[in-house]
Every structure is written in C-alpha cells, then in structure tokens.
C-alpha cells in the first residue's frame, strides 16, 4: 500500500478542492431568500470574504458560528417543517469549514475531520452549488484511500463475523399456507394486476439476482469504498425501546463496534440514504423496472440502505409508500399483516409512533393484545437476490437472521 509523499499529497488536495469552488466570492452567493435572518446573511457574506481573502482561521471561526446557529434552526420543529434555506445555510457552513480544515497546517487528522464535516452537511443540510459537498467528499475520500488498490474486491467472501452465533438463532418456521407467494420475473402487467393494484405482497425472484452488488458487496468491500464516511446508526434492540438512541460514526467504526468485535449492543445502520451520500455504491444497484408502474418520477424514489448484524429488529409498522425490499447480504425473516387488520395490531396512540404497532410480533403479550392472536398474516425468509414487494401501508416486521444488507425502494 504505497503512500505518496504527504507534502505533495496535501498540495494536490488543496488544488483539487479549490478547483471545485467558484473562483471568487461572487460565485459563492447563496440564494436563500427572506427565510433566513439578515444577521445570518451578513455572516455568510463575511465568511465568503474571509475565505477568498485567505484569512483561513477567521473564516473557520465565522463558519463555526454559522454552523452552530443553523444547527439550532435545524432542531427547531419537526424535521419536515425545517425550512430548506436553513439546511442550505448549514451546508454552506460545512463547505467552508471542510475546505478551511484542509488548507491548514499539515495534520493527519484534518482530512478525516473535513470528510466528517462534509458528511454532516450531506446528512442534515440541503444541496448547494450543484451538490458540491458530494464532490468535495469524493476528493477527500480519494485522498484518504491508498492509491495502489483500485476499488475492486475479490469475489464475495463470507464475513469474518462470528458464525457460531447462528446456531442459536431461532429460524422461524414459515408455514406453506402463510407463505408470501413467489413469482419469477413477472411481466409488468402481471405484477400490476395481481399484486400492485390489489395490494398483495409477493417475493420477486430472478429480478435482482444479477445486480453487481450481489457479487461485489462484502464487509471488506464496503469498508474499502465507504469506511471513512460518517453515517447515522441506531443503537438499541428496537426503536420503540426507551434505551434506543441514534448516533453518528464512520462505517469502519460501525463495522468494528457493532458487527465484528463481539458487540455489546445492537447497532443498526438503518433507513439511511447511503447511495445519495456515496454515489459509487449506487452503481452497484438498479431501480426495479416495476417502479415505472407508479405515478412518481424516478428521482422521487427514496432508496435506503439497511446494514446490520444478525438480530436487528424493525418492530411491526407501516409506511406511506410502496416498497421493494431487495436483499443483498444475509437473510431476513419478515412477517406481514394487511392494513385491514390494523385494529388487531394495536397501533400506538402518540402522534410520533402512530404507524407502529405496540405488539412484539415474535413474543406477543396476548393478555394485553388479545385480538393479535387471530389476525391473519403472511411470512417469508428473504434471501440474497430476492425482492419483497410490500404494498403501501402493509404492516411489516423484520428480523435479520444473519449479518444483513438490504436495499429498500420507496415509490408511489
């Protein structure tokens, strides 16, 4: 793993970063309208001037203020109500901070720190200057990755995580009469008529089997492509638990702490739009053709990554869109209930959790939730290469039987 001369490396890095930015402060203009207070606009202007005036440490100071203030705005009110302008301001702060960090004195911690800042901007901010944070992140990542090893991994090997554990994992018995039907490469018309319109789940076989991710993805590959990137991780057995929390860490840290080294807690990289953050991974997956049967545009489809150890659980819940759940690594046990059975599933009262059932599917409290016992359901074990169609509002419970990576496509 040959490493280049650090001095030459950092000079090249700084040049590559500057090339991504506008050449003057006029180009850095942020169009945020009147939703952002004038005092903040003054700071943005000031920061841009300092940046192009090569006053790096003062620019860093102002960027911090911009970040701290916009962060407070991002935390005021429900996420969906947060004005996009504030998220753009936050991204702006991240951009300046990241570049300023890299232009400082030579410091091995600077580039990973700058990459983390970019990832924060991608996670919480909104696109600015033609999605510049993605480009900056790519440049930083390339600088961190050893040059001699191209992003090609050997044929997928089994993960080195403890295998012995799977001996003790309860593999549910899927009764034939309750099995989700399976179909091999149905035509668009057949799928629409038999499953989409009537809202019936089905496992699609022979559709995703040849996606590049099926052969390429392994712990090693993911580590190589994305190990230094910061992602949100859910810690705790399930999101309805009191002990549950969300935190941020790099993918390497996640694999180390929650997958390979005898994890003490359950950690799950769940419901994260990883493929927007790391476009290189997006090339390994394909949007299922059946999505064209929906009303929305392709760019309105939300693609989420679900990556975690054996044992992660998503409690029984429903989503407001159609879902294709594609399995890439490992197997998942899934139990499904029709929206017509909602009453028997005892959804939570609170606004926050009204789409989640109170019942623990594999260990239900039938005294408290008597109707649950009689509610009809379907179940399946989803294996690599298969796609489960979960109709809109269909209740679903998911447990990972192995180290697992799934990709979900939410569409309308």
């Amino acid at each position: 793993m040959a490493e280049g001369d650090p001095q030459a490396g950092s000079g090249a890095l700084q040049k590559a970063l500057r090339a991504l930015l506008p050449s003057s402060k006029e180009g850095l203009k942020l169009d945020v309208g009147d939703r952002v207070e004038r005092s903040v606009l003054l700071l943005l202007q000031q920061a841009a001037e300092l940046f192009y005036g090569d006053r790096r440490s003062e620019c860093l100071q102002i960027s911090e203020v911009i970040l701290d203030y916009s962060w407070e705005k991002l935390n005021a009110g429900p996420w969906r109500d947060v004005d996009k302008s504030w998220r753009q301001v936050y991204s702006f702060g991240c951009l300046l901070k990241a570049v300023c960090l890299c232009e400082g004195p030579e410091d091995t911690a600077a580039v990973p720190a700058a990459l983390r800042v970019c990832d924060m901007g991608l996670l919480m901010g909104a696109a600015i200057l033609g999605d510049i944070l993605i480009k900056v992140a790519a440049v930083l990542q390339a600088h961190l990755r050893p040059e001699s090893r191209p992003a090609r991994s050997p044929p997928r090997e089994q993960p080195s995580a403890k295998r012995a554990k799977s001996d003790h994992v309860p593999i549910p018995n899927v009764k034939i009469e309750r099995a989700v039907p399976r179909v091999h490469r149905p035509s668009l018309e057949y799928f629409r008529e038999q499953f989409l319109v009537p809202g019936r789940p089905v496992v699609l076989e022979g559709v995703a089997g040849h996606w590049p991710c099926m052969k390429k993805w392994s712990l090693e590959y993911i580590q190589e492509i994305a190990g230094c990137r910061t992602v949100p991780v859910e810690v705790g057995s399930r999101y309805t638990d009191e002990e549950w929390s969300q935190t941020l860490m790099t993918i390497s840290e996640f694999i180390s702490k929650y997958i390979v080294n005898e994890p003490k807690d359950v950690g799950y990289l769940a419901q994260h739009q990883l493929f927007d953050q790391i476009p290189e991974l997006k090339q390994d997956i394909t949007i299922p053709d059946y999505c064209c049967l929906g009303d929305g545009d392709e760019d309105e489809i939300t693609i989420n990554a679900w990556f975690g150890p054996q044992g992660t659980v998503s409690p029984l819940h429903q989503d407001p869109q159609q879902n294709f759940l594609a399995q890439v690594m490992g197997r998942k046990y899934i139990q499904l209930y029709s929206p017509q059975e909602s009453e028997a599933l005892y959804p939570h009262d609170s606004h926050l959790l009204h789409n989640t059932s109170q019942v623990d599917v594999e260990n239900p409290n039938l005294e408290k939730f008597p109707k649950f016992a009689e509610a009809p359901f379907l179940s399946c074990i989803l294996s690599p290469g298969e796609i489960l169609f979960i109709p809109v509002k269909y209740w679903h419970y998911v447990r990972a039987l192995d180290l697992s990576f799934s990709v979900s496509f939410w569409w309308s």
């Binding site: 005092s39 100071q61 102002i62 701290d68 203030y69 407070e72 005021a76 009110g77």
Partner: protein, 369 residues
C-alpha cells in the same frame, strides 16, 4: 432595582456582532467584563442572538450589535431575532406596545402597535422592565411572530412568562407553573413528548409554589419559594446539569458526581441516579421536572436560560452556570461545556454579590453589587 450602593452589569459569551458585551475584541468573551452602555444606568437587559437591548433608568432602550441606535420613552424591551418589542410610555405615547423589525429600529415605523392600560401606580422608571413578553395587566403576551398579540386566560393570573424556541412557560400568581407549545424535547414537563396547544399546569409541581420560571431554547427551569431548582427538557449539552453522553465521549462528564436526588412521592422523581447509588445513566431528554441540587446546598433565588445553557443566582449572591459553553457563555474563562453547576469565580474574587442574571441565546448578563 435601586439599591443603596448601585451595582453594575457584566456580560460574557458571544458578541460576534459587536453587541454590548466586553471590549469588542473577538467574537466572544470567556470571563465577565463590565458592560459599557452609553447614557444613564442600566436597569434591564434583553439579549437576542445578534443584538442586545439595554433599558436604562432614563427610559431609553439602547441597541447594540446587528441592530443599533436608541429608542426613547421605553419602560421595557424584549429582544428576539424576528422582532424587538418595546413598551413605550410617557406623554407622547400614553402606554403603547410596539413591535419593531430589529434591522430597521429605531428608524421608520414599528410593524405593529397596541395601546395598553397604564399601570395605576407607576413606580420609578425601569421598575416595569423585565415583564415582557408578558403584557402589563397579564391578559396577553407578545409573540415575536404574527399574530403578535396572544391573549391569556385571565384565570391563569400570569405573573411571569418566558418563551423558548418552540414552547412557553408561565408562572401564575399562586406559584403554579404552566407550559405549552412543542414538547418534542420534553421541554413542557408533562412527562410526554406530545405538544400542548393551551397552557397546561405541571402536575408534578402541584403543591410546590414557585418563585421564578425560565425558558431556554429547548429546556425549562423553575425556582421554588424555598430555593429549590427544578429542570426539564433537552440535556444535549448538559443544560439540565444531568450527565450527558456528548460530554462523556469527550471525557468531560462528572458522571459519578451528578447530584440529582429523588423526592419521596410518586409524582416527582429525580431523573438519573441508579437505585444502588451507582453512576447515573445518560439523560438526553428529561420530560418531567427533576430536582437539582447546587453544591453546598445553596438556595437559588433567580434563574435564566440561554439557548442551551442555564444560569442561577443564589441567596448568598453567587452565580452558577452550566450547559453549552462553546462561546464562553458560562463565564469560566474557557469554552468547555458542563453538565454540572459551577460557580462563576469572577464574582467571588471581586467580592461582588450577584443580584440578577439575564441570558441571551449564547451569552449571559449579570447584575452584581
């Protein structure tokens, strides 16, 4: 506020817009510095993020920071980023509430005005300060966003009202505490994360008359008549003086020393504290009031909250601060955040007795004698 020996105002924390705070060097001040305000003696300070309004004994509101200038005939002022609210008095105005756009004040015209009933026995100038956003007469309060005039039910008999980023806390005449607004960070204190549209009394504090209430960005504090402090809401920077994960990860939490007690009775519990006296777990959100002990059993008399920090004045004239400290707003000569109360040594060293405290979002103003 008039004393035998008139005291002085001090400030510390964020001053990146040049607001009246310290010497104007750099974006923040880490240790208390005397406040320099033109004209007559300062009675009351109201600080927003980018500017500060100081009401002087001459009934002037002096603005500094992103807003500048002065407004005459002001008995009270309340500063926020969206609006500057002033109570104008005197022959020219009768008594009138005015809402100004901070960037234009005091030039031009206010955005909105509203006549108020004059207080029957008007005391010395400045005595009406510090009541806003509650209106004189307590029948309504002023919101920084339209509709500016928000009526309050008369049976609440509001004595004091403070607004957080998304919630409101009200103290009634008999010492009961009410809250409403968004509850997503537990800042309402009713034990849930649900919002409340109307003022709802805090059941957990029933029977405990409060003397003071304060609202921070996403947390709330109240002080009882007997000097006890109760805290609830978001603790992400330790602003509730409960152990917080973020500081533990930096190696800065004093987990074992968290002085949170449990009260007898089913309704009120100290939030943290393992049953066996072991180290307390991290608290991110405290959705019902927790009793907080100051070191040495000091009694609190006043409290104020910034965006993510808290300041308390004790009967003995000391100032304790905790929470987010990145901009020096805790006054401990550094930028560390703290999840336990720490005394501001400056006032002890200068042998000053602290009498009052008002926090802006990222700074702190103190009156000491």
């Amino acid at each position: 506020m008039a004393e035998e020996h008139p005291g002085a105002w001090f400030g510390f924390g964020f001053c990146g817009f040049g607001q009246a705070l310290g010497s104007g060097r750099g974006p923040c001040v880490h240790s208390p510095e005397p406040l320099r305000v033109p004209g007559a003696e300062t009675c009351h300070v109201s600080a927003s993020w980018s500017y500060t309004a100081v009401v002087t004994r001459g009934d002037r509101a002096e603005l500094s920071g992103s807003a500048s200038g002065a407004i005459g005939d002001c008995a009270d002022a309340w500063a926020s980023e969206a609006a500057l609210v002033v109570l104008r008095v005197g022959a020219a105005h009768g008594a009138e509430l005015q809402v100004w756009s901070p960037e234009r004040a005091p030039r031009g015209e206010p955005l909105w005005t509203h006549a108020v009933v004059r207080e029957p026995a008007r005391r010395q100038g400045g005595a009406q300060a510090g009541v806003l956003p509650l209106l004189p007469g307590a029948c309504a309060y002023v919101s920084p966003r339209p509709p500016f005039y928000r009526p309050l039910a008369p049976e609440l008999r509001a004595r004091r009202l403070e607004l957080g980023a998304e919630h409101a806390v009200l103290l009634g005449e008999a010492g009961q505490v009410f809250s409403w607004g968004s509850g997503r960070h537990g800042q309402l204190g009713h034990g849930t994360l649900e919002a409340e549209l109307e003022p709802r009394p805090l059941e957990a504090l029933q029977g405990l008359p409060m003397a003071e209430v304060a609202a921070g960005g996403w947390h709330s504090v109240c002080v009882s008549e007997t000097g006890d402090i109760y805290v609830w809401g978001w603790n992400e920077s330790g602003q509730l003086a409960l152990p917080t994960r973020s500081l533990a990860e930096e190696g800065k939490t004093v987990q074992g020393e968290a002085t949170v007690l449990t009260l007898d009775g089913p309704d009120l519990k100290g939030a943290a504290g393992g049953e066996d006296g072991g180290p307390a777990p991290f608290i991110s959100i405290q959705s019902f009031p927790a009793l907080l002990d100051l070191p040495l059993g000091s009694e609190a008399i006043k409290a104020s909250c910034g965006s993510r920090h808290t300041a308390v004045v004790t009967r003995m004239g000391e100032l304790y601060t905790w929470g987010w400290g990145k901009y020096g707003q805790l006054g401990h000569k550094d930028t560390a955040s703290l999840d336990h109360p720490c005394r501001v040594q400056y006032f002890v060293e200068k042998q000053l007795r602290v009498k009052a405290v008002t926090c802006g979002p990222w700074n702190t103003y103190v009156y000491a004698v």
